[in-house]
């Protein structure tokens, strides 16, 4: 319990850091980015809205500490201002409409990569010198060397443009509208294949290699020799004794890698014009929509921190040694 509370404190601190970063960036960056934004979009706004945005970015006469306190208050109450590129939709609404797709894409890809990658790593370490152990790591390292977006574009060209097996863009066919029907679900699944597979292909090697290396270290532990001496069946030793211990570092890196997955999803979303916060983030940057950009960044950060916290709770369940200390 104490462990969990300490972690919670840490995540709150991390979130505070990113909020503060968000507060400081537009105020202290050279080149006055906020003025650029105003110059571009002032004509479309009402005076009240301009005043509100001025406050958001510190272009008013309040002292800095006052601005900071107000900003913190706004973040806590979920008020992130109004999107400029999708004027006048509030930022929160724009994000709420998009985040589901990112969770779907990133979650699916992450789940497949983690499960399959770790299984491959376990098997490779168990049968040293076998095909999985000798051929797969270099191959996966090679595939993993390609930039996300490049592979994604290649896959798009090959399977989308040339072969026509998969749709080229978006999360569902134009003309259909989201509904809880089998037809729509399969349409979504079809659109999901290429983006998800490219993320899996690029990230699976890292999981496999890490698991393989931890397993090799674990296999040298005394308790594995003891389990063998006990005459246990190989499958039981492999999973209950070796993999069960070797997965602990993998659980930790699961949380850590989440940030990367979001990043990968961002590029993939751009290539496949897949809706999601990543795609929206880039659109916000291009449209100089700073409120939306900041809102998305904070949301992503909060989500990553939240998942990490959940992972910590799971970790406590998995490693009895943390429970007491």
């Amino acid at each position: 319990m104490q462990f969990v509370l300490r972690r919670l404190g840490f995540y709150l601190l991390a979130f505070w850091v990113s909020v503060t970063l968000n507060f400081l960036l537009p105020r202290f960056m050279p080149g006055d980015p906020v003025s650029r934004m105003f110059a571009r979009s002032q004509s479309r706004m009402t005076p009240e809205q301009i005043t509100q945005l001025r406050q958001l970015f510190g272009l008013d006469d309040r002292p800095l500490w006052r601005q900071y306190v107000d900003y913190l208050g706004n973040v806590v109450t979920g008020d992130m201002g109004v999107s400029i590129s999708r004027f006048p939709t509030p930022v929160v609404e724009v994000i709420a409409g998009q985040i589901g797709w990112t969770v779907l894409l990133g979650g699916t890809a992450l789940l497949i990569a983690v499960v399959v990658g770790n299984l491959l790593g376990i098997l490779a370490a168990w049968r040293r010198g076998g095909f999985l152990d000798s051929m797969m790591p270099p191959f996966l390292v090679f595939v993993g060397s390609f930039p996300y977006f490049w592979l994604a574009m290649g896959a798009l060209y090959l399977f989308g443009v040339s072969l026509g097996w998969f749709p080229l863009r978006h999360a569902f066919s134009a003309g259909t509208s989201p509904a809880w029907t089998g037809e729509f679900a399969s349409d979504v699944a079809l659109h999901l294949v290429l983006p998800a597979v490219t993320i899996v292909v690029v990230s699976i090697g890292g999981w496999m290699l890490a698991m393989r290396n931890t397993m090799i270290a674990t296999n040298a532990e005394d308790y594995i020799v003891m389990a063998e001496a006990k005459g246990l069946r190989p499958g039981r030793i492999m999973f209950r004794y070796a993999a069960r211990n070797a997965m602990l570092p993998a659980v930790t890196s699961f949380g850590m890698s989440l940030g990367f997955v979001v990043g990968g999803a961002l590029l993939t979303e751009v290539v496949f014009a897949y809706p999601g916060v990543g795609y929206q983030l880039l659109a916000a940057v291009q449209g100089l929509d700073y409120p939306l950009m900041q809102g998305i960044f904070l949301t992503i950060t909060a989500a990553v921190l939240l998942v990490n916290f959940l992972v910590d709770i799971v970790y406590v369940r998995l490693d009895p040694r943390v429970r007491v200390s």
């Binding site: 840490f10 995540y11 990113s18 960036l25 980015p33 168990w126 040293r128 152990d133 270099p138 390292v141 060397s145 390609f146 930039p147 977006f149 490049w150 574009m153 060209y157 443009v161 290396n213 296999n219 040298a220 532990e221 005394d222 308790y223 594995i224 020799v225 003891m226 063998e228 001496a229 006990k230 005459g231 069946r233 039981r236 209950r240 004794y241 069960r244 211990n245 850590m256 989440l258 940030g259 990367f260 979001v262 990043g263 961002l266 590029l267 290539v271 990543g278 983030l281 940057v285 950009m293 998305i296 992503i300 950060t301 990553v304 921190l305 990490n308 998995l318 490693d319 009895p320 040694r321």
Partner: protein, 663 residues
Amino acid sequence: MSVTESTSASLGAAPGAGSRPAPNAHLDLASDATPPAGPSGGPLPRRGFVRSLLRNRKATVGVGILALFAALLLLAPLLAPSDPTLITDAGSQPPSAEHLLGTTAKGQDVLALTIWGARSSLAVGFLVGLAATLVGVTVGLAAAYFGKVTDDVLSLVTNVFLLLPGLPLLVVLAAFLPPGTGTVIVVLVVTGWAGAARVLRSLALSIRAKDFVAAATVTGEGAGWVMFRELLPNMASIVMSTFLGTVIFGIGSQAGLEFLGLGDVSVVSWGTNLYWASNDGALMVGAWWAFLPSGLCIALVAFALSLLNYAVDEVTNPRLRVPRRRRAGVHAPGGGTVVSAAAGTATSRASANGHGATPVLEVRDLTVEYRGENRTVVGADRVSFTIGEGEVFGLAGESGCGKSTVAHAIMRLLRAPAVITGGSVRFCGRDVLAMPDDQLRSFRWRDVAMVFQSAMSSLNPVMTIGDQIVDVYTTHERVSRREALRRAADLLELVKIDRSRLRAYPHQLSGGMRQRVVIAMAVALRPRLLIMDEPTTALDVVVQQEIMAQIADLRRELGFAVLFITHDMSLMIELSDRMAVMYGGRFVESAPAATILAEPRHPYTRALMNAFPPLTGPRTELRGLAEGVRFTDIGDLVEVAGGHWVAPHDEPHDAPRDQEVPA
């Protein structure tokens, strides 16, 4: 990535003066003999590191590819003299003699773009790697060296940065900063240093705990000296792999940023090439040639760096290397490697046979080799002995003499590179070395069980001890889980542990309790032979006595035979019926324990006995072997009296005990 785990000394290396003389097997009895170069024992000697790295095939390929790109970078003005950004009206042409890789939609030569693009991409990548590693090293070292509040603050900052999602942060930062290559570098360093710092901090912490660092600190060396002269050189390999990792990160992320249009798109680099290709819709019109080369180049460079990184890992931790298939003895854990030699050809005349009746265990001419890449070390050399029903047979000798090797060989628990190359092991007449896997599994624990050196590490840390005992019952006997649990509880009570502790995890028990659990587990199936490999080494004297009394009780009750392994001669003589003394993989003496106590013949036996103080009587000076004394070419045992076998040695057995002479 870090290499802090250590193999048990007895398995890791077997220095020995076996039949094949090993050139480097200097053994100094006075020191607690640790293997000279365990497979992964801490920091690596630096001299060997670069050489081993160069011999690694992955490293060679990696360096080769990088050299190729370095040449490309330097020779760019010669290879592609024309201005790569020159816009012509020959747009979107497929590869031809004039334009080897075709042209972009704007009519720029793709080959020239790719060659010139290498400059910016590689420069940014390496600069990012250098700067991020530098920051990481400084923060990591400072956190580890200063500890306390400094460490708390620095680790906190590191962990926060590590958690902030990288690419979104990059995008946001890049959006606020004026576009340009400098911005890209700064942004990438800001997001990339934390990973390096985390790895290096934990490594520096583990090195800082070592004695030589403490020594430097005590002698009054300054912080900078200790950090950069004592800690850093021992972290070279990890620093290098961190650097390679951040370069890969730098090149990949730069490409990603530029692809998103967030860099300076007027600079020619692989990332901007891809940006323009995507912007011009190259793929949609089928102009794959505009898109392929830059991506391939990024992948090749990243691949080369990964290979190099991988090679560094393998050199630092040789266990990661893929074992070669052709060598006999590559196997999954669980097999027990046996190379069947023409057993029986070298029949030894000497066997330390005591009883006439069918022995429980009969080991004959057992030979185990540790087959290294460059040399082979003999861990056990033609070892023969028998253990009778209910008998306690002791095996004594210093660390690394091959005691544990013999014990593991009996249960076929040895792993590559250890291979049984000759001899036989018979249990109640059954040939253990010839058993197929399923028979071997049921032989293990049911017939012969083993108590390992350290109870600390021989229990699975994430399973309750109840579940670990239940495993034995459910595997070997067809019993329900409920019944198995009940028996497990009875077993705990047998060793005087409360049955409620079934649900305890190993870390919740004291060292003595853990060892008792292991002993209970060992007798769960009432085996006829129990191998005890230094069962009390890690325990304090009081607990040692309790454990030994416990074992004696169990033996009275269950009547199993024991192979008892220790370097503690007094303990051994007290406990064993017969015993043997082992040195350098060979038996040097074997006799009833009382005989050894009364008249040890071999000088090594005497040295070993003199290395422990008697518990009672006048104070005597302790002596081991004299400095530099080693025995080589130990011959077969010869019977000198009834049941007393000694290896031939130069010195007459009644020579004064304080004048040990090298054989």
